[in-house]
């Protein structure tokens, strides 16, 4: 019945459009090129171009006003601050150019709409103008390129200075595992060929490697604030991507090789929860979740902010739900937590 109604409505709409165009056509009988724009078409569409310009501005303003607050809160990592700054400057440039060019384009479309008898200006080239709008992008982009490259080199320079914490992020369909290098801060060797499900050696760690015995394998990532972390990423099956948006960090996990990323967390989870933007976000979200709870729907428990690690490279059916919680805490809390965890050697011996 519903299908029939929808079909009926569609048919009626089609008939209405057809009739409307018939009326338009009847009013234009007698001209050879009745399907070529005439002065009236130019006038209407000229005005519409102007309206469209207003629409572009309106949707920009609307999006900023309504959705601007949805953006990620301030960066929670050391390099994230310079990332955000570069981003801000880039956006300033983009919006300036966007504002100017869209005005020119649509305003010219409106201003110079065709009229019978109007003479267009034969204006084929002008070296000076073209030079100006070549050289301005060249200079602007040179600046952005240099700044971007400087920051990039800085972020990607992964070294062992400042005693970094070494952590392995291990990806598989469809979950994450983290491995801490333990007291020696050296990860034991590992390969998928050494995976032994019966002995719960799910990461394929080399049991004979002495460096491996103090490694700690966990399902929740704890990081001490202010200490550099060097991540080593591995994947056992397909491509995954370790995406930590709050830290402006991302690196793919590639089967057959180890990739790396490094950052220093600067804001603890507790502090981030007190960030005014985050408080607002949590309030808004919990309002939605309360509505859901009232309607008796699932997925309606109140939410508390946490950093999160997402998979950001299509990896299969449950790609959309491959995540791990990240907790940034004070050094002492972290030390206390890591001391409570079982080492790889302990796990192995408990199995045997």
């Amino acid at each position: 019945m519903t299908t029939f109604l929808i079909l009926a409505v569609l048919v009626l709409v089609a008939i209405a459009i057809w009739q409307m165009t018939r009326i338009f056509e009847l009013s234009q009988i007698g001209t050879v090129d009745s399907q070529v724009a005439n002065d009236r078409d130019n006038r209407y569409n000229g005005y519409l171009l102007f309206l469209f310009l207003i629409f572009i501005y309106a949707i920009t303003i609307f999006s900023f006003w309504k959705y601007g607050k949805f953006l990620l809160p301030e960066a929670a990592s050391e390099h994230g601050a310079s990332y955000d700054q570069l981003e801000l400057v880039s956006y300033a440039i983009i919006f300036t150019v966007q504002a100017i060019t869209q005005v020119l384009l649509h305003y010219f479309g409106f201003k110079y709409r065709g009229k019978q008898g109007r003479k267009a200006l034969y204006f084929a080239d002008n070296d000076r103008l073209e030079f100006i709008w070549t050289i301005i992008p060249v200079i602007t982009l040179a600046g952005l390129i240099l700044w971007g490259l400087y920051t990039w080199t800085d972020i990607m320079d992964i070294n062992d200075e400042d005693d970094p914490l070494i952590v392995e992020l291990y990806a598989q369909q469809f979950n994450w595992t983290a491995r801490y290098a333990g007291e020696d801060n050296v990860l034991g060797g590992a390969n998928v060929r050494m995976i032994d499900i019966d002995k719960a050696n799910i990461l394929g760690i080399d049991e004979s490697d002495l460096n491996a015995s103090d490694d700690v394998i966990v399902k929740e990532l704890h990081l001490p604030v202010g200490r550099k972390v060097n991540f080593k990423m591995r994947s056992q099956d397909v491509l995954h991507s370790a995406y930590m948006p709050h830290f402006r960090a991302q690196m793919n996990c590639v089967p057959g090789m180890t990739t790396q990323f490094s950052f220093t967390p600067t804001i603890t989870t507790a502090d981030m929860r007190n960030n005014p933007d985050v408080i607002d976000k949590v309030d808004r979200t919990n309002e939605i979740r309360a509505e859901r709870a009232a309607a008796g729907e699932d997925n309606s428990d109140p939410w508390e902010f946490d950093y999160v690690l997402l998979c950001n490279k299509i990896c299969g059916k449950s790609h959309y739900n491959m995540q791990m919680k990240i907790i940034v805490e004070e050094e002492e809390e972290y030390n206390k937590w890591i001391a409570e965890q079982q080492t790889f050697a302990q796990t192995m011996s408990s199995v045997q």
């Binding site: 519903t2 459009i17 165009t21 338009f24 090129d33 009745s34 569409n45 171009l49 629409f55 959705y67 990620l72 880039s90 956006y91 983009i94 150019v97 060019t101 869209q102 384009l105 649509h106 010219f108 479309g109 110079y112 065709g114 003479k119 267009a120 200006l121 034969y122 204006f123 084929a124 080239d125 002008n126 073209e130 992008p137 982009l141 971007g148 920051t151 990039w152 972020i155 598989q172 369909q173 060929r193 948006p245 709050h246 793919n252 089967p255 090789m257 990739t259 979200t285 997925n299 939410w303 902010f305 997402l310 950001n312 490279k313 299509i314 299969g316 059916k317 790609h319 959309y320 995540q323």
Partner: protein
């Protein structure tokens, strides 16, 4: 141009007199006539486009109302939507096939194939393509690859669903994902055939442009459409073979146990034998085509728009030589920027720096083109036909979408928006919507040339343009914000992360705009089909254009022109040109077609 080529043309010119007897099969099916082949490309492309857009509407509905049951899902997806709720695997399949169809089958074959075939011979003054037979083979290979791609939708385990980029190991291992079995095999076979088709087409375009230009048609008198098609064909010849090698190596990994892209894999409880390959290698091979591909898609649209804009502004295109230079610069740079898709793949960060540099350089010729188009409008006498509106629309979306490329092309800024909705918004505006606008502009403008003088209804054209233009921004502008909030693309639903809860509203808004935009395309389809049969015949040169195709008779004939091929005496953009007294060169007419000889006292006012 060489003397032999001239001789060849003259030869052919004398030769046209006798007509072959045409049967239904040689005229409409296995036709070797470029005009018919272009129509075949267009109609196949539009059918594929309808499928591709319908798929996008379905997955947009899933994104806006996750887990909701829709009767239409059950009707169209069958077992893939139990009780009308879309399955996660088929969601990924829809995303994958939507991307594949739109990029390759609609915007490469449907756009470049249609208009290169239609316009190259007609605008350079040739009787047909260099090889009509290869041209026919090219179309039929394209048709075959379309059939195989569509048939993969009916495979029991589902079509390919590893994303249109089909990165291994996901695409190589049937145990990683259901679509990586038969569905992916068909995808690869279809694309291999598609590449063969594209290469045959491109070689033909290149040879035709170089050898078959009529007398007087020097390279610097070519309309910008031809320049764009010519350069596009060259990029295609350079980069498509690399995709073929990627596809072949992937077929070997999948079927013959080689390890080009696979290494150290443990899946479903067992270690696989693969050793020593690298998925990163596949990414390099894929994007060596994949990136030029977006220019293969957008350059023809740019050429079409340049031509339509000049004609409808009644002005020469501003900076003709700069436009050619920027087409060539974009084409050159496009082949050395592929790494910007791979900043965070584990590729050496130094390479990332190099690719950032080359990528941001592309902004320069792109900026030149945009400013030149805007200047072309300045002080014009704009005839706002539907084709002209779509051309202005292209410049608008190209700028909006292109500017965010400055964020994505910067390796630093890419880290946090890589693979999020920000990317989706960027490329849909800059190459998806823009190229579609180019396609629509071309169809409205050259419809009379394709269908023997019949014209499309302009009022339906206006309805089509305005709804589409508003909806395109309505879908893709807010999408940037979803990306900047950190939402990854290709998520079946965003409910697993409370931090994305509040973004569902944005998804609903985008989906409503998308559905309305989809309905507006029905107006276009109706207009297209009804005009094909009942369209009003316009005059021979309805848009008062300068290029040679409008000197050919409306009725299609083998060889395009009865009698001799027109010679060319001037460039294609003498619109509103006046002499010293301010009078038009041809009194009472604001355009001078290319086949009109220069007047005695007339000067070339451009360089």
């Amino acid at each position: 141009m060489s003397a032999t080529a001239h001789a060849h043309i003259e030869d052919h010119a004398d030769d046209h007199g006798h007509h072959h007897k045409e049967t239904f099969v040689t005229k409409y099916i296995f036709s070797q006539d470029h005009k018919m082949i272009s129509k075949q490309y267009l109609i196949t492309g539009l059918i594929m486009g309808t499928i591709g857009i319908a798929m996008s509407l379905m997955f947009r509905m899933q994104l806006a109302w996750p887990g909701e049951s829709f009767p239409i899902f059950e009707a169209l997806l069958g077992d893939w939507a139990p009780n009308g709720v879309m399955d996660a695997d088929i969601y990924l399949a829809l995303v994958t096939i939507h991307g594949t169809i739109m990029v390759f089958f609609v915007l490469t074959a449907g756009l470049s194939g249609t208009f290169s075939n239609l316009l190259i011979p007609l605008q350079i003054g040739a009787r047909d393509m260099a090889s009509g037979f290869l041209n026919m083979v090219s179309y039929w290979l394209f048709f075959l690859s379309s059939i195989i791609m569509v048939s993969s939708l009916f495979v029991e385990a589902g079509p390919a669903n590893a994303g249109w980029t089909i990165y291994p190991p996901l695409s190589a291992l049937p145990m990683a994902q259901s679509g990586s079995g038969m569905g992916m095999t068909l995808w690869l076979v279809s694309m291999a055939i598609f590449i063969a088709s594209s290469l045959l087409g491109s070689l033909n375009y290149i040879v035709t442009v170089i050898n078959l230009r009529t007398k007087g048609m020097s390279m610097t008198r070519l309309p910008l459409t031809i320049w764009a098609f010519f350069v596009t064909a060259i990029i295609g010849v350079v980069s498509f073979p690399v995709l073929l090698s990627a596809a072949l190596l992937l077929i070997m990994d999948r079927s013959f146990g080689t390890s080009f892209f696979l290494s150290d894999i443990f899946i479903q409880g067992e270690v696989l034998h693969y050793q020593g390959g690298s998925p990163v290698l596949f990414e390099h091979l894929f994007w060596f085509l994949g990136h030029p591909e977006v220019y293969i898609v957008i350059l023809p649209a740019m050429g079409i728009v340049s031509e339509i804009m000049a004609t409808n502004a009644r002005k020469p295109i501003f900076g003709y030589r700069a436009m050619i230079a920027s087409i060539i610069a974009i084409a050159f740079l496009s082949t050395i920027v592929w790494g910007h898709h791979m900043f965070v793949t584990g590729m050496n960060p130094f390479l990332g720096s190099v690719f950032t540099f080359t990528t941001l350089l592309i902004a320069i010729p792109s900026a030149v083109k945009s400013f030149n188009w805007i200047t072309t409008l300045w002080k014009g006498n704009l005839q706002l036909n539907p084709a002209m509106l779509f051309s202005i629309g292209l410049v608008s979306t190209f700028i909006t979408g292109g500017l965010t490329g400055i964020i994505l092309g910067d390796s630093t800024l890419d880290i946090n928006v890589h693979d999020t909705y920000f990317v989706v918004a960027h490329f849909h505006l800059v190459m998806g919507i823009s190229a579609l606008y180019g396609l629509f502009a071309g169809v409205y403008h050259w419809f009379p040339k394709m269908f023997e003088g019949k014209m499309m209804n302009k009022n339906l054209g206006y309805i089509h343009f305005w709804i589409t233009a508003v909806c395109a921004y309505g879908v893709f502008f807010p999408m940037h914000f979803v990306g900047m909030a950190g939402v990854p693309r290709r998520y079946y639903e965003n409910t697993a992360f409370p931090m994305f809860d509040e973004l569902t509203d944005v998804q609903v808004l985008m989906t409503v705009f998308a559905l309305v935009a989809g309905l507006a395309q029905l107006v276009f389809l109706y207009n297209f089909i009804s005009s094909m049969f009942y369209g009003k015949k316009g005059s021979k040169n309805p848009w008062k254009a300068n290029t040679l195709e409008w000197t050919a008779p409306q009725e299609h004939m083998h060889g395009n022109w009865p009698g001799a091929i027109p010679h060319v005496h001037r460039w294609a953009y003498d619109y509103s040109k006046t002499d010293e007294n301010g009078e038009y060169i041809i009194p009472g007419q604001d355009f001078v077609p290319q086949n009109i000889p220069m007047k005695d006292d007339e000067e070339e006012l451009h360089h």
